[in-house]
């Protein structure tokens, strides 16, 4: 008796859904403002809804902070600065920050799930990147708290006072960590406003900070729209503004603080060049291109959204990109196998779709993955534009979505000129097997971060920030302490 050596049972293999459970998540129906260590009702008495962009279902209502609320938050921060935080021995400050880091690690799964629910990013990323990296930022800056004299010898570093911090929706928790950790380590107190579409992990962080026993008022978190942010920026008792977001808003902030002695750091838009030379490890470069543009649905200010491929390898790189596009899984952000989740909001999806139309109208050749996208929720297929040139708007302007504009180049001089021919200068990528070429480019590219043979690598010890209209000031590393200190 023998069995047939059959293979036909296996004609097609797809991964069964593997959704991360949400049973362990506790979300309130309504969230108030976190001021002076307590959750308080907003003066405005108004609340706004925050949704899950993958399903368009409401997750919670969040308080809308008006000028009086912001005033209360800033006063609480100022009071805590003068009476507690400024006077506390630096080592004690460090202990509180270490405690926040540990609590975040303990509750990592909860934060990851909420980040994906509220922001639309795949759970693989929130679990493996956002949350661990946020905890690492707290750990890293906790260590600096009592070593500032060593960081800046003979300079007598002093804290500034109240830091007003406004963060974007693409990495809600991570950006909160990037802002809060160095501010606390340097002895400042904080009023932070998360983005209106993604307030939940910041509010969860507020709960965690309350539970950590951090003195009241050291960190205050107020939610709202642009007006709330403007109230923070314009408040006279705020000594320092840290903003991450669009270049347009960055310009408004700079105008409104002109003539004051507020310090400011701006981390704004980008349109990074990702440069592939013919001697690059091609398959790994293709992976780097994919990671560079499709990480977090392309909602990354340092996304490698302009691809430059040396002409003699363009055909093979593009063929492989198309092949790789087919293996990207687009869909439910909570599925552990999802590579590309939901676009953060209806407005952002509209903006991306407008740019896709502009690209087509400009005559660039569009190529999209053949994947299906869910009918409900905000989704966009991973998109390539072939045969683009510097003059195309899709090459010049930041799209902030899963859309890659591909150009070819022939010589090193040409690609350096094209890479720099843009108002932005946040990041760049270089792919070549030749070390000398890497060093040549890193000195000539006008970008704050240049990755070689990799992309989108972040580490708390490494400074991050831009040239030109991508902003100024650095976050991360030793450099990230400086904007929060006076010497």
């Amino acid at each position: 008796m023998t069995k047939e050596n059959k293979t036909e049972f296996f004609t097609d293999w797809t991964y069964a859904p593997s959704p991360e459970s949400t049973d362990h998540i506790k979300l309130n129906k309504q969230y108030d403002l976190f001021i002076n260590g307590k959750f308080v009702k907003p003066n405005s008495k108004k609340y706004f809804s925050t949704i899950n962009p993958a399903t368009e279902e409401k997750l919670a209502e969040v308080a809308l902070a008006d000028e009086k609320d912001v005033d209360a938050a800033v006063n609480a921060a100022k009071n805590a600065y003068d009476k507690v935080w400024k006077k506390m021995p630096a080592a004690e400050r460090g202990k509180y920050i270490f405690r926040i880091a540990r609590l975040l690690q303990e509750r990592a799964r909860e934060f990851a799930v909420i980040e994906s629910l509220n922001g639309g990013k795949p759970i693989r990323e929130s679990r493996d990147v956002d949350v661990p990296l946020a905890a690492n930022h707290f750990f890293y800056y906790a260590g600096w708290a009592d070593k500032l004299e060593y960081a800046f010898p003979n300079k007598k570093p002093q804290s500034l006072g109240v830091a007003g911090q406004i963060i974007p929706w693409n990495f809600p928790l991570l950006m909160a960590a990037w802002k809060i950790a160095p501010a606390l380590a340097t002895g400042n107190t904080v009023v932070l406003k998360p983005a209106e579409t993604t307030p939940l992990t910041a509010l969860k962080l507020a709960e965690l900070i309350r539970d950590s026993g951090l003195p009241d008022g050291v960190v205050n978190i107020v939610t709202g729209f642009g007006n709330t942010g403007a109230a923070i920026v314009n408040h006279p008792k705020v000594n320092k503004i840290a903003f991450t977001g669009s270049t347009d808003v960055g310009k408004i902030i700079q105008k409104s603080i002109a003539g004051t002695n507020k310090k400011v750091t701006l981390e704004l838009g980008g349109k990074a060049a990702n440069i592939i030379f013919d001697d690059a490890p091609i398959d790994q470069a293709v992976e780097g291109i994919i990671n560079g543009i499709f990480f977090n649905q392309g909602h990354v200010c340092c996304a490698g959204s302009r691809l430059f491929v040396q002409e003699n390898v363009a055909d093979v790189v593009i063929a492989k990109l198309k092949q790789r596009l087919e293996t990207l899984i687009v869909g439910n952000p909570l599925d552990k196998n999802t590579d590309i989740g939901a676009i953060n909001s209806r407005e952002q999806l509209q903006k991306i779709n407008d740019y896709i139309k502009i690209g087509i109208d400009e005559g660039a050749e569009m190529y999209q993955s053949s994947c299906n996208i869910p009918a409900k929720g905000f989704f966009c297929k991973p998109t390539l534009f072939l045969h683009t040139s510097q003059s195309h708007r899709i090459v010049q302007e930041e799209i902030f979505g899963p859309v890659l504009a591909i150009q070819t180049f022939r010589t090193i001089e040409e690609v350096i000129e094209k890479a720099n021919n843009i108002p932005y200068g946040l990041s760049a990528g270089v792919w070549t097997d030749k070390g000398s070429k890497i060093f040549n480019l890193t000195t000539k590219l006008r970008a704050g971060v240049v990755w070689a043979n990799t992309y989108n690598k972040f580490d708390p010890a490494s400074p991050f920030g831009g040239y030109k209209e991508s902003g100024f000031g650095r976050e991360g590393g030793l450099h990230g302490l400086m904007p929060y200190l006076q010497f």
Partner: protein, 296 residues
Amino acid sequence: MDFNNSPKIDQVGIEERVARFNTRSIKKQSKVQALKLALNMIDLTTLEGKDTEGKVIQMCYKAMHPADDLKDLPTVAAVCVYPNFVKTAKKALGNSGVKVASVATAFPSGNSTLDIKLSDTKLAVDDGADEVDMVISRGEFLKGNYNFVYDEIAAIKNACGKARLKVILETGELSTLDNVRKASDIAIAAGADFIKTSTGKIQPAATMPVTLVMLQAINDHYLKTGQMIGMKPAGGISTAKVALQYLVMVHETLGNKWLNNEWFRFGASSLANDIILQLGKEQKGVYYSKDYISND
């Protein structure tokens, strides 16, 4: 042909890609399907000095009947033996469809003359081997004598006739991923039907990074010529979990066309029993003792 122009490999990038395959979550029906597939891709192997006809016959029965107490199990793909056991295996397997693969060419070192290697191959083929697993001359490769390696593979391919040729690179002796890529390109150009990582006699044997580099060489050849080449990682893959990770890697590098035993094999001996254990758990609802599973 100039094999110095093989694409460069970035080891860090390869390892990151592998790490990403390993975060795929394979559940429910897709897991059962993949476990059966993996079982069906196994080249059940015995390559020991102490092998006997009796042992080979017992293994052949296991190849045809991996676990008769479970429903809907496929057979394995092939048994892999030394040339002098090909006849025995062929007879034992009958018309079951399970193939006989024979190692040849002075396995495992490959240190002998071409004449000896050719007659070794002919012995296996004449005795009915469906597949020949040859080893490349690693010494000549590391000397940079790529044409020697190429010519040798081409000659063995010629001697194989209708039998399919698997070319073992013995990646554990090649030291770098750049060399793995180069050796893959040489083997494919010289006529390999399959490329295979290891003899199982050298550590490290098959690893995911090495296998990925070889899959990418296969993909490049396919994109250029439309011709499919098979892949066989061998040695060191002993658990169902790791086997599924390999399948994810094949699935996302070459696609479903390669997901059958015509184009992908696992060279393994203990893997089959771990897969049987997992499939048994799916069918019976509980894990049971390994004592219930035959060790042949």
